[in-house]
């Protein structure tokens, strides 16, 4: 199937600003789905509220546009009711880790087979440019006119600590790399978290003097380095890209099936 077959073009034009990184991430994701030759009918995408969450409107999968921060709760219900489905949950940084932080860590703890994609542009775009729990200190936002004092979460470390068994990071600039990582994340049996750095020239870029979309993309390139690369070794201030953890671990739906079997055996006796 061609990539365009996975798109609901009838809902175009999409609502993202010119230069937004989210469209590129949608592209990477669709290519991953296409290359894995997944059937549209086997994919469910749930999303919350915010710019990133609108992605579920543009893909021709079974899709649910739910509540701010709570897409993982819906996804968990969908997955448990039919574990053979592939669950994709794209989330914004505020959506996933502010209002949805609790759901995020608990989905990771269960290691349920869902792929969470954190589209991190470090800002609340839809409501006009407030800082998010991924902005980090020293960032300008409408709610931080003199720069933020809030520390940020490290999504990778948080997800690993909470129990996710596949955790990776890439950027909108590294579109091919994102596709490859997303393919592995989707095929992984367990809770997968892929953080993809995205750019918001409208709010974040303008306030923080990072320039236009092209300049911001350039930053994705210059501020990051591959895990295990010499570059990263020489400059540990760079943000690492790649797969941080990929482990075979007890997956929630499988364990659930086992406990059902166990209970049934006891009943037979």
């Amino acid at each position: 199937m061609a990539v365009t077959d996975y798109l609901r073009q009838r809902f175009f034009p999409h609502m993202w600003c010119p230069g937004c990184g989210h469209g590129t991430i949608l592209n990477s994701l669709l290519r991953a789905v296409e290359e894995l030759e997944l059937s549209k009918n086997d994919i469910v995408m749930t999303s919350g509220i915010g710019c990133s969450a609108r992605i579920s409107g543009y893909v021709d999968f079974h899709s649910l546009h739910t509540l701010h921060g709570r897409a993982l709760a819906f996804a968990t219900g969908v997955k448990l009711s039919k574990p053979e489905l592939t669950l994709l949950v794209p989330m914004g940084d505020g959506d996933a880790l502010a209002i949805g932080g609790n759901h995020f860590i608990h989905a990771a703890r269960r290691n349920i087979d869902i792929t969470a994609i954190v589209m991190n542009n470090r800002i609340y775009g839809m409501t006009g440019g407030q800082f998010s729990p991924l902005s980090g200190p020293g960032v300008k936002a409408t709610t931080a006119p003199y720069t933020t004092i809030d520390a940020n979460f490290d999504v990778v470390k948080l997800a690993i600590a909470a129990g996710a068994s596949f955790v990776a990071r890439s950027t909108a600039y590294h579109a091919r790399e994102s596709t490859e990582i997303l393919k592995k994340a989707i095929m992984h049996k367990g809770f997968s978290v892929v953080e993809i750095l995205s750019q918001c020239p409208t709010h974040y870029g303008r306030k923080n003097k990072e320039g236009d979309a092209v300049a911001m993309l350039e930053l994705h390139k210059t501020n990051t380095a591959k895990l295990g690369s010499k570059q990263l070794e020489e400059n540990p201030n760079l943000v690492a890209r790649g797969i941080f953890i990929q482990e075979e671990r007890a997956e929630y739906c499988i364990e659930y099936g086992k406990i059902v079997e166990h209970a049934q055996r006891r009943n037979v006796k």
Binding site: M15, W16, C17, H65, Y124, T127
Partner: protein, 611 residues
């Protein structure tokens, strides 16, 4: 063709692309009419999007001062190709369609009952300006220049506005004024006697102001002495806190240190936001939050805690179209029931209903006094239309002699002087309001345990049915006390003999008065009551009891105000006739007129004449 011919009385609609700089041009247009002293009401109809989708801006000009939506468009300025055809079809018969003729009109545009005014905006703009970013912005300014000719807007008022806007960057004023002139000159040359809509200076607005409700609300909280705000971003309430922050930077600076005495915390979600507010309020600070419908749902649990443990909090609900995520950028008055009875168990919350910026300011300030006097949550119910659009309003007034009412708070001296044992939830005065202390008031006395679990008069945990019931009944006594403290309704008796009335509140007010005045001119008198609060005062109940048929006009599907009135006061539901609009757009005077006429016709046929 009959062309619409009117002075200082028309509706014009601009069709633009979101994020293309149209907002400032359209605002310039509305401000100019305001500065010519003519009542004007701009309404921004925008998508849930930052850039690229269609957006409209409606401006009603009405020298009689009717500033609710009227219905219909006498002129449309179409600069968005995506919606061109729809915009064309929506022009009222006899009206005017102004468009960017750089691209030809589609073949479907064949109406003969409207005047079509084409102007090559893009072409003119590109000829005059090099910078592509500026081009996009100035294209909008060019049509404002053209409108100044078509509608007879004083050109100097526009140029003055531009100069004022760019006072600090005079270099930016130049191209804007040039753009205005391009529009004016083209229109002068090509459109002679093309448009019979016009504005004429009236100077009717000598002391009026024009501002958005959210700014007035933020300022009200500041004047009320709020020092802590906990909140979470949500359309359309975000600008309440932004305004509070802005005004705090100007007016809440400690003289000696230059420090800003305010704490504004962006929480991780709405639950946390209200939790922070309750924490600060418990500690004696005046604190508040601002949110919209989805936030009310999330805050319900904490509202119940504040109600039951009797901590004063102020919550601003800028209502939008629900349920669930609904239409985040459209307006509604649909959170009434959720707000009044927020939280599980038996709870009742005080609601206030402002209808314009002056009332946003006053009622927000009053909400803090009421919350502390009644030791309970008070919710100020505005909406997207009031909060985010500019409204002409009487000026905001504050009496510097006014002192905050902190309610029944015991000082250390008062605690020392007590002859009997103090009980946090002991009703000494019989009004259901007990005496509270602020933590740390006294080194040894006045401490109590604040809890959401059942408690007796001395704040001790109890599972005793009698103690639980006494507490719940006292809270009802307090509710009755609230009825004597909330703001009185505005009642207008047009005919003392008439048994027909109408009740409305908030942004429904303006269109409702217009519709009812129209009916009065035709000989039908409807007495009106504009509610400013829930619960209802005795005066409000008298109004209801002295009328036989009362229209309840509101902007939700389920007649929520009617439900509140019936449920809280045991009024017979049949005498209250719902008149609702819930399409997400501000209710229009035309719609109310039509529904009132239909409702009255039915009553006449069924009862054989009213009275």
């Amino acid at each position: 063709m009959n062309r619409i011919e009117r002075v200082n009385d028309f509706v014009i609609r601009f069709a633009n692309v979101n994020g293309s700089g149209s907002a400032s041009a359209n605002n310039l247009f509305a401000q100019a009419i305001f500065r010519m002293g003519i009542p004007v009401s701009p309404k921004n109809i925008f998508p849930s999007n930052i850039q690229g989708l269609p957006t409209w801006y409606e401006v009603r000009v009405n020298e009689k001062g009717y500033l609710g939506r009227r219905g219909g468009y006498d002129m449309v300025v179409a600069v968005n190709g995506q919606t061109l055809l729809k915009d064309y079809n929506e022009v009222a018969s006899g009206g005017y369609f102004f468009y960017d003729s750089t691209r030809v009109l589609p073949d479907e545009c064949q109406r003969t009952d409207i005047t079509v005014l084409g102007m090559p905006l893009t072409e003119l703009c590109n000829e005059a300006f090099e910078n592509p970013k500026l081009r996009q912005l100035l294209k909008n300014i060019i049509y404002v220049g053209a409108l100044s000719h078509l509608l007879d807007i004083e050109f100097s008022v526009l140029t003055d506005s531009i100069q004022r806007q760019f006072k600090k960057k005079p270099k930016l004023a130049e191209p804007n004024i040039q753009a205005l002139e391009i529009g004016l000159n083209y229109a002068r040359e090509h459109f002679t006697d093309s448009c019979r809509l016009s504005v004429v200076r009236r100077d009717l607005l000598t002391d009026a102001i024009i501002m958005d409700g959210n700014s007035a609300t933020g300022l009200g909280a500041l004047y009320a002495g709020a020092t802590v705000a906990g909140w979470y971003p949500i359309t359309p309430s975000t600008s309440v806190i932004e305004a509070f922050e802005r005004f705090a930077g100007r007016y809440r600076i400690e003289d000696e240190t230059g420090r800003r005495k305010v704490a504004i915390i962006q929480a991780e979600d709405e639950l946390a936001a209200l939790g922070m507010v309750i924490g600060a309020a418990w500690n004696g600070a005046r604190s508040f939050t601002a949110t919209s419908g989805p936030g009310i749902s999330l805050m319900s649990e904490f509202l119940g805690l504040a109600y039951f443990s009797e901590v004063p909090v102020v919550l601003i609900d800028v209502q939008r179209t629900g349920p669930s995520t609904g239409m985040p950028t459209r307006t509604q008055q649909s959170d009434l029931i959720a707000a009044a009875y927020a939280s599980h168990g038996d709870t009742r919350n005080v609601l206030l209903f402002p209808c314009d910026p002056a009332e946003c300011f006053e009622l927000t300030a009053q909400a803090f006094d009421l919350a502390e006097r009644l030791q309970t949550p008070v919710l100020v119910m505005t909406d997207l239309d009031l909060g985010m659009n500019d409204h002409v309003s009487r000026p905001l007034v504050w009496d510097d002699k006014r002192r905050y009412d902190r309610g029944k708070v015991l000082s250390a001296e008062q605690l020392d002087a007590l002859e009997t044992r103090w009980g946090r939830y002991l009703d000494i005065d019989g009004d259901g309001i007990c005496y509270r202390t602020i933590p740390g008031t006294h080194p040894t006395q006045g401490a109590y345990f604040t809890r959401g679990t059942s408690h007796d008069e001395y704040a001790a945990y109890t599972e005793d049915s009698g103690a639980y019931e006494r507490n719940m009944i006292r809270l009802l006594t307090k509710w009755d006390t609230a009825k004597t403290m909330v703001p009185e309704p505005h009642i207008t008796i047009r005919d003392p003999q008439s048994k027909v009335g109408a009740i409305f509140f908030g942004t429904t007010t303006h269109s409702a008065y217009e519709a009812i005045n129209r009916l009065e001119e035709e000989g039908t008198a409807i007495n009106t009551m504009r509610l400013l609060s829930f619960p209802l005062t005795a005066t409000a109940l008298d109004f209801i009891n002295s009328h036989d048929m009362i229209f309840v006009i509101e902007q939700n599907r389920d007649s929520q105000l009617k439900t509140l009135i019936v449920t809280d006061n045991g009024i017979l539901p049949n005498k209250l006739v719902p008149l609702t609009n819930f399409d997400g757009m501000p209710i229009t005077a035309d719609y109310i007129t039509e529904k009132l006429e239909a409702g009255l016709a039915v009553s006449t046929t069924t009862t054989g004449g009213s009275k």
